[in-house]
Amino acid sequence: MRRLVILLVLYAVMQGIFLLGSAESGVPTLMLFGFLILAAYSVGELATSFGLPKIVGYMLAGLFFGPPGLAYVSKPVIVELAPVSNLAIALIAFLAGAELQIAEIRARGIGILKMMSAELVLCFVGVAAVIALLRGQLPFLASAPGTEVLAFSLLFAAVAVVHSPAATIALLSETKANGPLARYTLGVVLVMDVAVVLIFSAVLAAARALVPPTDGSGGVQMGTVLWEIGGAVLVGAVLGLFVALYLRFISRELFIFAILIALLGAEIAKILHVETLLTLLVAGFVAENASGGHGEKFRHAMERAAAPIFVVFFALSGAKLDPASVLPLWTIVVPVVLVRMLAIWGGTTLGARWAGLDPVVTKYTWYGLVSQAGVAFGLAAVVAEVYPDRGEALRSLLLATIAINQTVGPILFRVALKRSGELKSTG
């Protein structure tokens, strides 16, 4: 009830302030940033009373106050708040890396790899097959030659296999779950994140060979991809060592240091043209494992710094959703979503049995792999950039699919954590 009152007061305050705005007032980015933090946080708290994860509440707030709803958070504001999303992604990647300990990789690495590879193959083939089979529903593929159908189906599948490290990390921070299911799910998501960069680049190169882009530009060369990956590992390792040294010898003001490192890592990755996520992931991993036991304090500082950023990040993700785009494409979106889920289930079950994992892990891991968010958005944008005309239609389809996965995924993951008994906090 109190949360509803807060939302109403917030709404009234915003209305009042907009009434007093003048022509010279400009875009109220900062005010809306604060509004999003409070409003999304309130909706997140409200969501928990319905048994939903907070991040679903944050996204719903974004949807409600963003362009699809009341449009308080307009498209220019979303663009102006992009640095917040970038910072969130950097923090998430670092945190994800810091979650991985060498001992854990030794213990669970094989199981994670087996689950990931089985799921990857099934999901990739399954989604590509659905697109190829239902091409009649897509105007730009309906009368296209076989090579084009193959190229675009593969491209679509390469984006569809992506998971959401952001949603996984956020949900694990929220619930404080740390059991085998949580660790295996996180492991698969992170390893897949690295694999996807390679797979997507390879598929894009193949697609460019099959269907050359109209202007001959765009796309990614294999050398560039190798540098993106290798360079990211190198840069991330150096950054991680720096963090580890800091933690060992100074270890003070960790809160501000956490934000600075995330900003610095993202900026260096951008300048050196290496994969941002991977850079920070490696940095987090190296920092955690080379800091001689000081990593936990730093991780906590980073989680604290990330908390308001996460709220805004997921609210902005919600604001970017376009429910109207799902409706016209539902005949293809629904089958794609279902087949993807089925493939994830089949793949993880197969992989887990192959690795001889615990029945709980075998049964529930797939729930945590449905989410999709930031990385998928980014890859969809690359497709649209390389193939401006057909890619844009494919991007709309991808965004509609991501919209459903992004909403349903966290709910499913929470259900799995609850059923497996790993849900410590309901807050």
């Binding site: 109190r2 604060g34 933090i37 300048i271 308001p308």
Partner: protein
């Protein structure tokens, strides 16, 4: 190298270097660190190395507004009614006179200096002069913290300096907010043009609503993480709303701080969270202030600057002395406690930045005066406080030393006379009972 990366790198290095050196400098040399960031900002800015362009500085505008709001709430939070009512009225009287005198003297002097130096009508010089007067009132609490720690200050002179710094913050932020409301010319799109009083009420209203919202938001919450999210959100919303309406973010956030301090069950935990972000934001503010500084070698600027420095110092030193003498309080706080108010810091820079980022007259002159004052007084703020308080504290310290010596001597005699008696392990009544 890109400007944002450079800024991050330099801010990080400077922050860490200063942080490591901070305690050492503060303890050994009684130096308040901070002003060096201003110099660093100047070196990075368009007037020196040109590493940070004006466009890059403009991109940091939201952070500047946030920092201004943060300094505002940090000034308002210590004003807890429960604590304030325990302070004798004379302390407020002295502080109020000193603050108002500084405001009046600096505003009058600077108005005439601007009118004379720049050959403009006095009316045109009023807004910048009043703004500079408001900025002049502010004094940094960092000096007192470094010189005597940030715990309870029971000595009357220290309490007087502390109360005066709080009062200075109140007068400074309030006067500055009123000046901005007075200079407000934008007409709302949907309602009639508002009067100055109405704009002041709107500013205060934003603060009250921000504070109430935050209070509703948290209830009795003490978890630092949740406090940080909601406090961050509330400050961003309050400062952002005030900035959007071209009002003072510092005043709105200040009011919010007062509301929070007096309505929350655990204001100490909020203060703790507030302090986490205060110093980093101040350093960022100083860096950006330095980078966006547009000084001029024109002699008339020096005239205004001299007026500001001389009149402010006179008002702080003599104003406090005269007020004390009139109230007959020189026995308890002495005549020189005003020295403890000479240092300027975070609030001065925040208000000066707020003035400079608007389309208001003589922005560069006002900013130069404030920045120069911080540059030359903040380093020595702790020494100023020490020089004001030490003569009065010396007899107290002597008394404490003598008392300790007497206690030690009695204890030693007791131990010699009664060897079984030792202060630390005297037998308890249970042990003595057979």
């Amino acid at each position: 190298m890109s400007a944002p990366l450079l800024l991050i790198l330099i801010a990080a290095l400077a922050f860490l270097a200063t942080h490591v050196a901070y305690e050492w400098l503060a303890k050994r040399l009684l130096i308040v660190s901070g002003a060096e960031y201003l110099v660093l900002g100047v070196l990075l800015g368009p007037h020196a190395t040109k590493l940070v362009s004006p466009a890059a500085i403009e991109a940091f505008d939201p952070i500047v507004i946030l920092a201004i709001g943060w300094m505002g709430i940090a000034t308002g939070m210590p004003l807890q009614l429960q604590r304030l009512v325990r302070i004798p009225a004379v302390a407020y009287r002295l502080s109020l006179v000193e603050g108002l005198l500084t405001l009046a003297l600096v505003a009058t002097g600077v108005a005439s200096a601007i009118a004379y130096a720049f050959q403009v009508p006095l009316q045109e010089a009023l807004v910048p002069a009043l703004a500079l007067g408001a900025i002049a009132v502010a004094s940094t609490p960092a000096g007192l913290d470094v010189a005597y720690g940030d715990g309870t200050r029971s000595a009357p002179v220290l309490r007087q300096i502390e109360v005066a710094q709080g009062m200075d913050g109140l007068i400074s932020v309030l006067a500055f907010g009123i000046v901005l409301a007075w200079a407000h010319t934008a007409i709302p799109l949907t309602v009639r043009a508002l009067t100055t009083t109405e704009w002041v009420v709107v500013t205060l209203g934003i603060g009250v609503v921000g504070g109430t919202l935050f209070h509703l938001f948290l209830g009795g919450e003490t978890s630092p993480d949740r406090l940080f999210i909601s406090l961050g959100g509330a400050i961003v919303l309050t400062s952002g709303a005030a900035a959007f309406l071209q009002l003072s973010p510092a005043l709105a956030a200040f009011v919010m701080g007062v509301v929070l301090a007096n309505s929350m069950r655990h204001p100490a935990s909020v203060l703790q969270v507030l302090r986490t972000g205060e110093r980093p934001l101040y350093y960022v503010l100083l860096l950006l202030a330095g980078a966006s500084w547009n000084p001029d070698s024109n002699i008339v600027w020096w005239l205004v600057l001299m007026h500001y420095v001389v009149l402010r110092t006179l008002a702080k030193l003599w104003g406090s002395g005269i007020a004390t003498w009139f109230n007959g309080a020189q026995q308890s706080v002495g005549l020189d406690w005003g020295r403890g108010l000479v240092g300027q810091g975070r609030l001065t820079i925040a208000l000066a930045m707020d003035y400079a980022r608007r389309d208001l007259p003589f922005a560069d002159v006002i900013f130069t005066c404030a920045a120069a004052s911080v540059l030359f007084t903040e380093f020595f703020a702790a020494r100023f406080v020490r020089s004001a308080a030490a003569p009065l504290l010396a007899p107290l310290e002597q008394f404490t030393v003598t008392t300790s010596a007497v206690v030690d001597s009695v204890a030693e005699t007791m131990t010699q006379r009664f060897p079984e008696w030792r202060s630390g392990d005297a037998p308890s009544s249970d042990e003595r009972t057979p």
